[in-house]
């Protein structure tokens, strides 16, 4: 069976972004970019399913700027067989991305689409669910365990109260949580091999979808900074401060 893995190019998770002085956004000039960590987990899961013999082909896809080729190459170095870049310089948003992904699903007909649960730039946590709605597929979001068998997929989900297991008909959408797996590193030979794997480039027009943003950013501000606190010298001092100064206990 074929798996589609949508991946997003985002700022590296170690970077503490700064808001631009003119409040139009965050400063991404000269900042390290990487594959969204949840997407790495999605790729890893697809690769593990292939190693188990459940999956025969992994197609990575990204909607974004030309530079997102780097992340698609990384996905192929990690084990994706080929990839598709829907090139756009638009500020892409979940609904538009989900529509583009639906067009690709219609062409590729995967049995499983594995996405990250959330992109760590916009923190939206929407795309997988929207894609599932548009394609009429069931969804297993925030997955910490995925088990494909007998034309169904069983997904254990991380929910606020603990864990929930659901069973979904295939084709289905799964979104990954952090504990689903620990992604491997790409080996040098695999990075070299990935350079020769096919990478198709398309446009939104090719897919017949409209990526125009529905939500506009009016301004972006830095969050309120916390006042620097003090270092207390002892547990006694801490108790005294909490009781008499902060009055929280």
């Amino acid at each position: 069976m074929k798996v589609l893995v949508p991946i997003k190019r985002v700022v590296d998770y170690n970077v503490k972004v700064r808001v631009k002085a003119d409040n139009t956004g965050v400063d991404l000039a000269n900042v390290k970019m990487a594959m969204n960590p949840f997407c790495e987990i999605a790729v890893e899961e697809a690769v593990r399913l292939k190693e188990k013999g459940v999956v025969t082909e992994i197609v990575a896809v990204s909607i974004g700027p030309k530079t997102a080729q780097e992340q698609l190459r990384t996905a192929m170095a990690l084990g994706a067989d080929r990839s598709i870049l829907v090139e756009t310089d638009e500020d892409v948003q979940p609904l538009g991305i989900a529509k583009a992904l639906k067009a690709i699903v219609d062409e590729e007909k995967p049995e499983l689409v594995i996405l990250g649960k959330q992109a760590i730039d916009g923190d939206n946590n929407q795309t997988g669910q929207m894609l599932a709605a548009l394609t009429g597929m069931p969804q297993g979001t925030f997955a910490s365990e995925v088990d494909v068998a007998d034309g169904k997929v069983k997904v254990t989900r991380e929910i606020d109260g603990g864990l929930q297991t659901v069973e979904l008909n295939l084709p289905a959408v799964v979104t990954t949580d952090l504990r689903l797996n620990e992604p491997r590193y790409a080996s040098l030979p695999n990075i070299m091999k990935a350079k020769k794997k096919p990478l198709d480039t398309k446009t939104a027009a090719d897919l017949g979808v409209d990526l125009t943003p529905r939500v506009t950013t009016v301004s972006v501000e830095a969050p309120a900074e916390r006042q620097a606190g003090i270092i207390v010298g002892s547990v006694d001092e801490l108790v005294e401060k909490l009781k008499n100064e902060a009055k929280v206990i």
């Binding site: 700022v11 503490k16 972004v17 700064r18 808001v19 965050v26 979940p94 609904l95 959330q118 730039d121 916009g122 923190d123 946590n125 929407q126 669910q129 929207m130 599932a132 709605a133 069931p138 969804q139 979001t141 910490s144 069983k154 929910i159 606020d160 109260g161 603990g162 864990l163 929930q164 297991t165 659901v166 069973e167 979904l168 008909n169 949580d177 952090l178 504990r179 529905r214 939500v215 506009t216 950013t217 009016v218 972006v220 501000e221 830095a222 969050p223 916390r226 006042q227 620097a228 606190g229 270092i231 207390v232 002892s234 547990v235 801490l238 401060k241 909490l242 902060a246 929280v248 206990i249």
Partner: protein, 309 residues
């Protein structure tokens, strides 16, 4: 304007976060209707009818809604929501699961985890793990929104007297089914609504050592949380994770024990009123956000603190 608020509950009782969602709805303005979908959820609907400011409660009581499966709830909300200008749900794992689905069915954007209402189509929301706050304006005719509970003070649970209407719309997509669940059982206050939260990190060393935190928490009536490193290491279950991709908490007092203070952790707790950090490394970034820092070995400091309270 008319706002549909999706009630969060376990079929028996309303989750308090719904009161915060109603508070956000009030800021948007217009009539507020609460949708209660579940199985055997009549008592929840009665409870919702008493919420201050609610004018109507719709109760969809059916087997198909028992486990809040997103396929069924998404369809239901998209259909019922057609009559409203705004659809609001809590930014919980339930809300995050079905709201984008409903929005896509309605062909509108979804706005995640708002922390402020500017006007009826403009909202604030944290992005980049809370390192920036975006003000966003949605041009769509209908707004589907999830609300960060800790950013809105809940309205009063009593005082209203809305009518309860039962809804016989049955949406059963038949493509997914509930298999089972393992819910954490605890007598301690729920993390997102606790007045005091004590969290442990990798520095705790193992799961047994969390006992010293539980003991202290019980003395203070606190909830207990954890960093992702502590969850990953298997010290504690996932529902205790605080952070960008875990739970968002904003208690009066947050005590971080053996937690370094990675940005992803700070994203989940830096709106707490008072932050205390106990860490043996004086360079730990957590001290940059702590009101009171104690540089000490937690295995000495926590029992001592417990003894002195």
């Amino acid at each position: 304007m008319s706002v549909l608020v999706y009630a969060e509950h376990d079929n028996a009782a309303l989750n308090k976060v719904t009161l915060s969602v109603v508070a956000a709805a009030k800021e948007i303005g217009g009539d507020i209707t609460v949708l209660v979908a579940g199985k055997g959820c009549g008592a929840v609907a009665e409870e919702a009818a008493k919420i201050d400011g609610v004018s109507k409660v719709l109760c969809a009581d059916n087997d198909a809604y028992e486990h809040q499966l997103a396929e069924n709830i998404g369809d239901l909300v998209a259909e019922v929501g057609a009559d409203y200008s705004h659809i609001l749900a809590a930014a919980t794992t339930t809300g995050k699961n079905f709201a984008p689905r409903a929005a896509a069915l309605l062909d509108v954007a979804q706005i995640s985890e708002i922390s402020d209402v500017v006007d009826s189509d403009t909202f604030k929301r944290p992005i980049y793990a809370g390192n920036a706050i975006a003000t966003v304006k949605c041009g769509d005719a209908k707004k589907v929104i999830t609300v960060r509970g800790t950013s809105f003070d809940g309205v009063a649970a009593e005082g209203g007297s809305a009518s309860v209407e039962s809804l016989d719309v049955v949406k059963d997509a038949g493509i997914s089914s509930f298999v089972g669940e393992e819910l954490a059982k605890s007598d301690r206050p729920e993390l997102t609504s606790a007045e005091i939260v004590i969290s442990g990190g990798r520095g705790m060393g193992n799961g047994e050592n969390f006992e010293i935190l539980y003991k202290l928490a019980d003395k203070l009536g606190a909830g207990v949380g954890a960093s992702r490193a502590a969850v990953d290491a298997g010290f504690v279950p996932n529902d205790m994770q605080v952070g960008q991709t875990g739970k968002i908490v904003a208690p009066n007092l947050y005590v971080a024990v053996g937690i370094s203070g990675a940005i992803q952790h700070l994203a989940g707790m830096k709106d707490s009123k008072v932050i205390v950090a106990i860490n043996k490394d004086e360079e730990a970034p957590i001290f940059q956000v702590a009101d009171y820092g104690l540089v000490a070995d937690l295995f000495d400091a926590v029992p001592e603190l417990d003894g002195k309270l």
